[in-house]
């Protein structure tokens, strides 16, 4: 059976919002990183849904790139977090206050 494209949109919107709120509210860097992943995955849902709805492959191509970018982001991000952890022994953003923020 066919699921209307609006349902996918609603799902992705919800996932995106959860991610957005997570970035803004949570203080643990790992959780923030995960929230950002949620935002990117919401994007992927959108692209796949639109791609099938529009009968156009470009959306699915984009998903592959988005996945790659997300993976690279996590790799770089974790490296930075480790570097910072060595200084602060903490992964809570509230503890990083050398700069004025």
């Amino acid at each position: 059976m066919d699921v209307p494209v609006e349902y996918y949109l609603a799902l992705s919107g919800l996932v995106f919002l959860i991610g957005l709120v997570g970035v803004l509210v949570r203080r643990n860097i790992i959780i923030i990183l995960l929230s950002i992943e949620l935002m990117l995955n919401a994007t992927n849902i959108n692209f796949v849904a639109f791609s099938s709805y529009l009968g156009n492959l470009a959306g699915q191509v984009f998903v592959f790139f988005a996945l790659t970018v997300a993976a690279a982001e996590v790799a770089v991000g974790l490296a930075i977090i480790i570097a910072l952890y060595r200084h602060h022994e903490s992964i809570n953003v509230d503890d990083f206050s050398l700069l004025k923020w």
Binding site: L20, I36, N46, V76, L84
Partner: protein, 499 residues
């Protein structure tokens, strides 16, 4: 039908020659660093500079003989605008490499990789300048930013650098999330990712939200208010050459995308997005300048002044005309020399006195008349004092705004010149009027001196003989002359003139 075909010939790939060369060259630098034992890292720097110079010559040659075209189903385009921005990015990279040489000596580890990463970011930004499709916008933007994430956090021993890196990273990926989601909405509404195919799309809420999200993400990159919060911290914490790089090159590349997106894809919605830029411009100029007054650290001061400068650039976006785009291009050129020059001086001073506090610039004129005079020129150019480059840039921007009747923007812009003058003058005062606490004279290394001289030459040349550069900007944006027709000045001004 779901089909996706791609054809490529050798002559098509010629368009990519500068990028391909740079890719190979940066790998060469990395390999040399690994394989040659005990290599002097200064030589690696010169190797990188050679590569960038060759690429620059290549791009300029392409511009000269007029190599234009597009690749990969219009995802990659080489036109006047792309070439202009590539040249800006390459000059910025060149200057950044020059001012890095002394700074890199302070690093404990990974000296060679630094040059690799700088070139990698430059490569990403060169692709950004050519992006004419939302997929390539996304990929190239992330590509160039990855390099910067690492560069900002490069000083592992310095907690501030790591912290700046983290802040930059979180907001950067957050912006990437917004960008991707915005792109997905635009894709859903228009069924395409290519800018030029979007021109005839009817407006809708999905499209509007999508573009606002994309605008926000690019706003992060150029540091426009209200997306500026990472700028001061990142600028302060990052290694100063990286700050210098960040302050111009990504802004230029993101502006290339903004110009293409709004002037091409959204040309028919101009009445709607003009307001967006007017508000962002006023907010950036005013906020940047007012907060800059209170700064005690020169890097933070330049960070806030950069926010204000972007506000000025967005006046040109708000004008939304051919002249507006000319003005943006020329303004960026003037900003490139003045801003990188100022950072070169900051590095020269901080290499010697190990401080970026404005207090420590007291009596700089006594300690190094050369650096003080150079800084004076750069700050005055940033403030827009004639006969320096910045004045012509601002004049051009204001003319474009006036042509479009953006009086509010114009007045705010002019008030901001006065405000900005105030904090630039405070620095000038410290350098020239105050007496130094420590009168030892400051020595400047040859590469740094070269960078400062290039900055001075650019600032003076663009101010005194701007004609060829303006002509160049005008011809680079020829593609916009039919897309955004400037409204004739006379009828609009008629309420004031007529009668």
């Amino acid at each position: 039908m779901m089909t996706f075909d791609l054809t490529l010939t050798g002559s098509d790939l010629l368009l990519l020659a500068p990028e391909i060369f740079l890719t190979i060259w940066m790998c060469v630098v990395l390999i040399v660093d690994f394989s040659v034992k005990n290599i002097d890292h200064e030589n690696l720097a010169y190797l990188s500079i050679g590569g960038i110079l060759t690429t620059l010559v290549n791009v300029i040659w392409f511009d000269y003989i007029g190599v234009h075209g597009s690749l990969f189903k219009d995802m990659y385009v080489l036109d006047g605008v792309a070439i202009f921005f590539k040249i800006i990015i390459l000059i910025a990279t060149l200057l950044v490499l020059l001012i890095s040489i002394d700074y890199v000596k302070k690093f404990k580890y990974f000296k060679g990789e630094y040059y690799f990463l700088v070139m990698m970011s430059a490569l990403g930004m060169m692709f950004m300048a050519s992006a004419q499709d939302l997929l390539s916008v996304f990929v190239t933007l992330e590509f160039s930013t990855f390099g910067f994430y690492v560069l900002v956090a490069y000083l592992r021993e310095d907690a501030r650098s790591s912290e700046a890196g983290l802040k930059f990273f979180i907001l950067g990926v957050f912006a990437a999330g917004l960008l991707a989601y915005g792109i997905s909405l635009v894709y859903g509404e228009t069924g395409t990712l290519v800018f030029s195919e979007m021109t005839s799309t009817p407006g809708s809420y999905g499209l509007a939200i999508g573009f606002i999200l994309i605008f926000a993400a690019l706003g992060f990159k150029i540091g426009a208010v209200p997306f500026h919060s990472w700028i001061p911290d990142t600028y302060q914490g990052a290694p100063t050459p990286v700050t210098a790089f960040l302050s111009i090159a990504p802004k230029g590349a993101a502006l290339a995308i903004l110009i293409r997106m709004f002037f091409v894809a959204l040309a028919s919605f101009k009445p709607m997005w003009v307001l967006l830029f007017v508000v962002a411009s006023i907010a950036s100029m005013t906020y940047g300048n007012i907060v800059a007054i209170a700064q005690t650290n020169i890097k933070r001061l330049l960070a806030y002044s950069g926010i204000a400068q972007i506000g000025n650039v967005m006046i040109g976006m708000a004008a939304g005309t051919k002249r507006g785009s000319d003005a943006i291009l020329f303004y960026l050129l003037t900003y490139l020399f003045a801003n990188l020059g100022a950072f070169a001086v900051v590095i020269g001073v901080s290499n010697f006195i190990k401080s970026d506090e404005i207090e420590d610039y007291n009596g700089l004129n006594r300690r190094s008349p050369f650096l003080a005079a150079a800084m004076l020129l750069f700050l005055l150019s940033l403030a827009g004092v004639p006969p320096l480059a910045g004045f012509i840039g601002k004049l051009y921007i204001f003319v474009a705004a006036m042509e479009q009747e953006l009086y509010t923007l114009l007045i705010v812009g002019l008030i901001n010149i006065v405000i900005s003058m105030y904090y630039y003058l405070i620095v000038v005062k410290k350098m020239y009027i105050n007496e130094p606490t420590d009168p030892t004279s400051i020595t400047v290394s040859a590469p740094l001196k070269t960078a400062v001289y290039i900055g001075i030459a650019g600032t003076l040349l663009l101010g005194i003989y701007p004609k060829p550069f303006i002509d160049w900007a005008v011809s680079a944006t020829l593609m916009f002359s039919n897309l955004v027709a400037p409204t004739a000045a006379a009828p609009v001004l008629s309420p004031l003139v007529g009668g």
